[in-house]
Structure formats: structure tokens, C-alpha cells
């Protein structure tokens, strides 16, 4: 279980996150909602370790990760698909996928078939440079790269941003199939309400860097949406 306790984080002088507490239980798809600029991506970065926590803690299966480097967090089983995809543009698609294996516990050094099977389009593009792919293809590559190490928790930061509807459907199917497997839990940041409602188990709403609301799908009423999410 991934647990964030009273986390505080920010950039330079400015504090972005105040007292954020959330949990991702095994097998769950937890969605993080909120308007632009409330700190969703900052929270993802702090969980991954790209931002140092000023206070509070991040722990995974009982072991404290708060002072650990991103690489160690990846090796303890956290996969990350960042906003903007962050593909290695000069490296080939295959090399990008191989880099996904760095955190893998198995020493075999082979990309798991399941990771590729979820994105069949990638296998035809192994030798192309990552930077030459379209946005949607890069998103699928980033997703497959994160799955290569067989993570137990997957952090997805806006996986459908700027993606054509058919690939959004593909990504939805992938998330559902991961959920059906039950081995990997997901923390998902996404703007589209329809999308999160179709995959999510539990919801947190961030406002001004703090958790303003949390609850299950049934409790996510129009009133909650109006209050925290409509612009």
C-alpha cells in the first residue's frame, strides 16, 4: 500500500502542497482530481521523489521512502508515466523500453510480453527514434516503458492529455485490464470526469494544495463536482 502522510512540498520559496494525506490500496485505481494549478502534478513528483518533501512522509508497504532517491523508489515497485510523456527523444523506441527495465527485479533483461501486448502498435516501431513518434504513440510508449518493470503501483499523470479519442479508449482498456489483473494499483491524475468515473475506485479532490474532498464513486455527486471542479 502506498501511503502519503501530511505531505508538504513546493518549489523554491513557494509551498504548493500542504498537509496532503492519501492512500492507494493494492489493486485499487485511485483518481486525483482538481482544477489546474492545485498541485496534482506536484504531488505526483513528490511521491516519485523528484521533489523533496518539506514535511510529512511517503511510504510504501510500510517502508519509509521520504528520503529515498527516485531510482530507489522505482526499484521498490513504483512506476511513473509523467505528464508530457518524457520520452528519450534521441533513443530508439526499443531503447526506451529497455530503460524501463532498469528498475525491474528480474535480472533477465527482457521486456515482458504483457507490457508490449497492451500496445501492439509499438512492436512495429522498435527502431524508430522516440522523438519521431506522434504524441499518442509517445504516450503509449511511456506507458509501456513504465509497465516493463512490472510495477506494483503506477503513477499516471494525465495520460490522455492531447490524445485522439481512439487512443484514449485504448488507454482506458489498458487501465481496466491492469485493474482486472489486480496485481498493480494505480494513482491517476486526469481532467476528464467521464474517463475517471469509468475506471476509478476511489477519488481525492485537491484544492489549493490540500485534499478538499475524498470518497467513492457513488459519493462523487454533481454538487461535489460543481463545488470543486467546475471552472
Amino acid at each position: 500500500m502506498l501511503a502519503v502522510q501530511q505531505l508538504e512540498a513546493g518549489y523554491g520559496e513557494s509551498v504548493i502542497l500542504r498537509n496532503v494525506t492519501l492512500k492507494v490500496k493494492p489493486g485499487q485505481v485511485v483518481c486525483l482530481l482538481g482544477r489546474n494549478g492545485v498541485g496534482k502534478t506536484t504531488l505526483m513528483k513528490s511521491i516519485m521523489g523528484l521533489l523533496k518533501a518539506r514535511g510529512g512522509s511517503v511510504s510504501y508497504n510500510g517502508s519509509d521512502l521520504t528520503r529515498k532517491a527516485p531510482g530507489q523508489r522505482a526499484k521498490s515497485g513504483i512506476g511513473y508515466v509523467p505528464q508530457g510523456r518524457e520520452i528519450f527523444a534521441q533513443l530508439s523506441v526499443f531503447e526506451n523500453l529497455l530503460l524501463g527495465l532498469e528498475a525491474s527485479k528480474e535480472k533477465a533483461g527482457r521486456i515482458p510480453k504483457e507490457a508490449i501486448a497492451k500496445f501492439p502498435v509499438l512492436s512495429a516501431m522498435y527502431s524508430r527514434r522516440g522523438g519521431d513518434l506522434s504524441g499518442g504513440q509517445q504516450q503509449q510508449l511511456a506507458f509501456a516503458r513504465a509497465l516493463a518493470s512490472k510495477p506494483e503501483v503506477l503513477l499516471l499523470d494525465e495520460p490522455c492529455e492531447g490524445i485522439q479519442p481512439s487512443i484514449v479508449d485504448d488507454i482506458r482498456d489498458v487501465i481496466r485490464s491492469i485493474k482486472a489483473d489486480g496485481r498493480t494499483s494505480i494513482l491517476l491524475v486526469e481532467q476528464s470526469l467521464d474517463f475517471v468515473k469509468s475506471v476509478g475506485d476511489y477519488f481525492y479532490v485537491l484544492e489549493k494544495g490540500a485534499i478538499a474532498w475524498e470518497g467513492e464513486l457513488e459519493a462523487l455527486s454533481d454538487e461535489v463536482i460543481r463545488k470543486y471542479l467546475t471552472v
Binding site: 531510482g71 509523467p82 518524457e86 533513443l91 529497455l98 530503460l99 532498469e102
Partner: protein
């Protein structure tokens, strides 16, 4: 006809020396963006390592073995410069990533210290390294045109170094990690790549190659504590002209400068030739500031 062949060969020879001197810098400056003013001193360390290897052979091994010291000197120079680079990275450079001016000053200081250390140990005068006899003489292609084996050897050495670097950077696991870290440090870290380890290894390898360059320079003449300072400007010039971050660019830069240098010196004289080369480089960089082979890179930030 002979004259042109000889000039062409001289050009190639100068290019190969320039390239060897610049290859290490292509890694530390080109890939890592560290303005390493101590690069020349790493070359000097490589040269003195060769000198030491020679002395050890002279003192402890039978004379018949002496000619083979040079074969051992190449890996020894690489190893010693590698260790110096590793220590330098771990104790100093790693605190200065993304701070070009500070690293420039700090590495320049390190360079001065290393020069003085060399002066204290080996003395200020130049020392001679005796080339192995199998590199004496040359290849006679036509009467009056002799291609010295030493220079041919350096050209071959550069080709071997280039091939090894290419395999390491583009074909090995370590090289893949290295390219990933240099392109997108944060994402590489998030995937589980140890960026600290990659940084140290990359810098150490760049330094080691500078050591090999130093070893090769012992073939060209006597060596001294300030050996590196003669080559540091040329090395930076090659990397900048070639375009930062690409091996191909460094090769083209070295060949370009070497060839033009020889041509201009042939047409005018040694000092004017050098001036003309500088003028050409300045003009070229006005036209294409990114150098011969431009690559979009994410700088270290």
C-alpha cells in the same frame, strides 16, 4: 604530386592528434556540459604515466622486453587518468553541475595544482620518452615520401578509440544509461537509473581517453608539466566547431581543423596559417553557432 600526398598525410596526422586530444573532452564537455579546464592536465597525467611505465620497464625488465612497454603504457595511461577523473568527479565536479562558470574556475584551479604536483615530482624540465624501436622509420610510398610509423600508429590508435567509444556509447547497456541521463536526467532517475554512478563513470571515461591522448603525445616529442596547456584550446575548438554532443561532429571538427591548418601553413607560414584557421572558425561559428553537427539536447539543469 608527392607534395600533395605528403600534405594530405600531414593534415590527416594533425587531425588524428587533434581528435585524440578532443575525444575525451567530447564526453566531459560535449555530453556532460562540464567546462573542464583540467582536461589538458589529464592528458599530461597520461603522458607521465607512459614515462613511468617506460622507466619501470627499463629498471626491472630485460632490455629485450623494453620495446613492448608502449603496449602496456596505453592501458596504464587510461587507467591512471580514469582514476584521477573519478576522484575529481566525486570530490568536486558533482557539486558543480549546471554551474558552468564555477566549474570553469574550479577545474582551472585543479589544473594548476596538478601541473605543480607534476613539477614537484618529475621536475620542471621536459622529460624524454623513448619511442619503441618498432615505431621508428616509416612507410616509403614513393621515393622521397616517407610516412612515419609513429604518425600512422596514432591514426590507427584514434580509429580504435573511436570504435571503442562508439560501441560503448551506442551499443552497451552502460552507454544507453549514459545517453538517457544526458538527455533527460529526471526521467532516467525515475526509471531506476543511478544518475550518480552514470555521471562518475562518464566523467572518468572521458578522463581516461585524455590519458590515452597523453600516451600518444609522448611519441611526438618530450613531455613536461605544462604539456596540457598547449592542447586545451585546440581540444575545445574541435568540440565546439564539431557541435556539442555528437561524436560525428567531433570527428568532422578535428579533420576540418587539421586539414585547413596544414593547407594554410603550406600556403603561408606556421603562425599566419594558425591565424587563418582561427579566422575561419570564428566566421563559421557566426554562421552556424551550433557547430557542424547540431543536435537538440536538453542541457543539464
Amino acid at each position: 604530386m608527392d607534395v600533395y600526398v605528403l600534405q594530405l598525410f600531414n593534415g590527416l596526422s594533425i587531425s588524428s592528434i587533434l581528435l585524440l586530444v578532443a575525444l575525451g573532452l567530447a564526453i566531459t564537455f560535449g555530453l556532460m556540459k562540464v567546462i573542464n579546464m583540467a582536461h589538458g592536465e589529464l592528458i599530461m597525467i597520461g603522458a607521465y604515466s607512459t614515462y613511468l611505465t617506460q622507466n619501470l620497464f627499463k629498471d626491472y625488465l630485460p632490455e629485450s622486453m623494453f620495446d613492448w612497454y608502449f603496449v602496456l603504457a596505453i592501458p596504464v595511461s587510461f587507467g591512471i587518468a580514469f582514476v584521477f577523473g573519478l576522484i575529481l568527479e566525486m570530490s568536486l565536479i558533482r557539486f558543480l553541475y549546471g554551474r558552468p562558470l564555477d566549474s570553469l574556475l574550479a577545474t582551472w584551479g585543479v589544473g594548476l595544482v596538478l601541473q605543480q604536483v607534476a613539477r614537484s615530482i618529475f621536475g620542471a624540465p621536459n622529460v624524454a620518452v623513448k619511442s619503441p624501436t618498432w615505431l621508428d622509420g616509416g612507410l616509403r610510398i614513393v621515393d622521397g615520401t616517407l610516412l612515419p610509423y609513429k604518425r600512422l600508429f596514432i591514426i590507427a590508435l584514434v580509429i580504435v578509440c573511436l570504435a571503442a567509444m562508439y560501441v560503448y556509447i551506442y551499443r552497451s547497456h552502460e552507454g544507453r544509461r549514459m545517453r538517457a541521463v544526458m538527455q533527460n536526467r529526471d526521467m532516467a532517475a525515475c526509471l531506476g537509473v543511478s544518475t550518480r554512478r552514470v555521471d562518475s563513470m562518464t566523467f572518468a571515461i572521458g578522463s581516461g581517453i585524455a590519458g590515452i591522448a597523453g600516451c600518444a603525445l609522448t611519441l611526438m616529442g618530450p613531455i613536461g608539466p605544462s604539456l596540457g596547456t598547449y592542447y586545451i584550446v585546440d581540444a575545445f575548438m574541435v568540440v565546439v566547431l564539431g557541435g556539442v554532443g555528437k561524436l560525428v561532429g567531433t570527428v568532422l571538427g578535428a579533420v576540418g581543423i587539421g586539414m585547413f591548418n596544414t593547407l594554410f601553413e603550406y600556403w603561408t607560414n606556421a603562425s599566419l596559417g594558425k591565424v587563418l584557421v582561427f579566422v575561419c572558425i570564428v566566421a563559421f561559428l557566426q554562421w552556424r553557432p551550433m557547430g557542424l553537427v547540431a543536435m537538440r539536447t536538453r542541457s543539464l539543469d
